[in-house]
Amino acid sequence: MTTDAERPLLRVRDLKTHFTLKAGGLFSGTRKVLKAVDGVSFDLAPGEVLGIVGESGCGKSTVGRTLTRLEDATGGTAEFDGQEMLSLSKADFRPLRREIQMIFQDPFASLNPRLTIEQTLSEPVRIHGLETTREAIRERIARTLTQVGLDPKVMSRHPHEFSGGQRQRIGIARVMIVEPKLVIADEAVSALDVSIQAQVLNLIKDLQTESGISMLFISHDLGVVRHICDRVAVMYLGRIVETAPRATLFSAPSHPYTKLLLASIPRIRPGRVAAEDRGEPASAAAPPPGCPFHPRCGLATDICRSERPLPVDLGNGQFSACHHAGNQQGEAA
């Protein structure tokens, strides 16, 4: 989908989001910095779906929340359609909110229980002045509800009257109703049951293909990511450790962490080489020096313990931030 000549819709460079935590005992009151996102760079082409995967706590959501300005970036830049947006004031950013939308994980928590579906869906339409008359707004809501597979008649109901899958459709309607250019989906199907998850995934895929929206699809589920993404970025402790086109990532992963992830997924059909026991990630508040993955890596050498690896271009759009990338293809993690 992406051609080299095209300007990326979103261009993120060295994005950093740090949180200050109060740490230590009751009286010491020292402050600790948690580097949730610490130097993330990627491009997203128009119409492209980029997956972000990684274990919980690696900073996936924080990337999404920073790009929607729900969290403040500590450093770095993000150009949307050629315009730097992290340095904009909140007021100047507001018009961009129409272009950049977010689908949230929890279909139960993401809808205001006190508002009807019509009230929830009309809000962005009114704020961004997309329709002016009440009739036009209702018509647009009805159209969008149909688009996401719901009966427009449900408009007058409250969230508690819907099942999880239906609520997630409403969440998707809230995003689609403003015709955005970029959608950030944060674990959009993770809370749903398998049979419902498949329905919603198909819906997201259809809507994305029809409208050519760019999407940042955040998920911990590699099966889901493979199904929906064109390209995948793997995050570990606040950084991207590998980026590759979908086919490459799943058939020829380069980074030892990617391999560990792939080997850990329980498979329905037998044949997986079981992953070795590689412990758990270090805390983001105290990442190991050098390559943050080195305590869990079977290939770690001295350089891994002291120097942070930079992404290496392996060709065909595959990048791997590993000192030994490129010379260990085929070895097991």
């Binding site: 049951d193 398998v194 419902i196 198909n202 911990h220 590699l222 099966g223 037998p270 079981a274």
Partner: protein
Amino acid sequence: MTQSKPPLLDVRGLSLSIATGGSLMPVVRDLSFSLNASETLGIVGESGCGKSLTSLAIMGLLEGTPVRVTGGEILFEGRDLLTLPARERRRIMGNEMSMIFQEPMTSLNPVYRIGDQIVETIREHQPMSKTAARARAVELLRMVRIPDPQGRIDSYPHQLSGGMRQRVMIAMALAGSPRLLIADEPTTALDVTVQAQILKLIADLQSETGMGIILISHDLGVIAETCDRIAVMYRGRVVESAQTRDLFARMRHPYTRGLLDSIPEPDEDVERLPTIPGRVPGLDERVDGCAFHPRCARASDICREQDPAETAFGGGHAGRCHHPLEPDA
């Protein structure tokens, strides 16, 4: 295994209902399965299908909930737990069978050191001195592969990672040397890498101790990898059960098939996921005949009228369907 020895656990026709304002709403209907020592049975199904209630019923933990056992037997080594005197049942509950849950953080008390919590559990099961119990606690922590158990025993729960906390929970479950372990979504809150470790640990412990294990999960992958037998539940019933290999080689129930097909897998590309239309009907919605018929492509008139009885397909493979799929489908 001799003929005369009864299975470790034999659940026969278990039915559970929820008492709501005077009436009883069935949640689990006529559920049967059995489990031998050293065997792992997987129960899989979408949320709300009755997996947890079934395990709570086996453990005798339904007291204080609106859920009532309305029929059936739960035979543990031949003795019906439902008719056993309360004292005897409590003794079996902690010692001979135990259970681990999804949320390792909520099951541990945050203000006590994990060692003290394990010691307390041990001493509940068998009277022994604090020192002896502490030694046993260290041994249990070693069993669940916690590195440096001597050092970790004095940690507080929040000082441990999610995976380590689940290991502690498993250690506590092992305190009475149970012969049956029920694990209800033990890895659902964990990351895949940690999940793989915990599942492997459970399998290792089984080969060391010969426990029978019931593993409950909504994740067919987890079940497929770890279980000898699988029971697929839909809306309070087991709709299909078989040896794991059999089930995947010769799936007979349309729901099992639909469930499998709708899972996007990391090893294959599909353009469009096949889906099961509609949703699971709520408990308060009445569905006549086969509970799956509103969503089933094979449904016929008889499906809408008559609840299918269990059919044996041979080789321990059974299911409830009027029009089962062809074995090689």
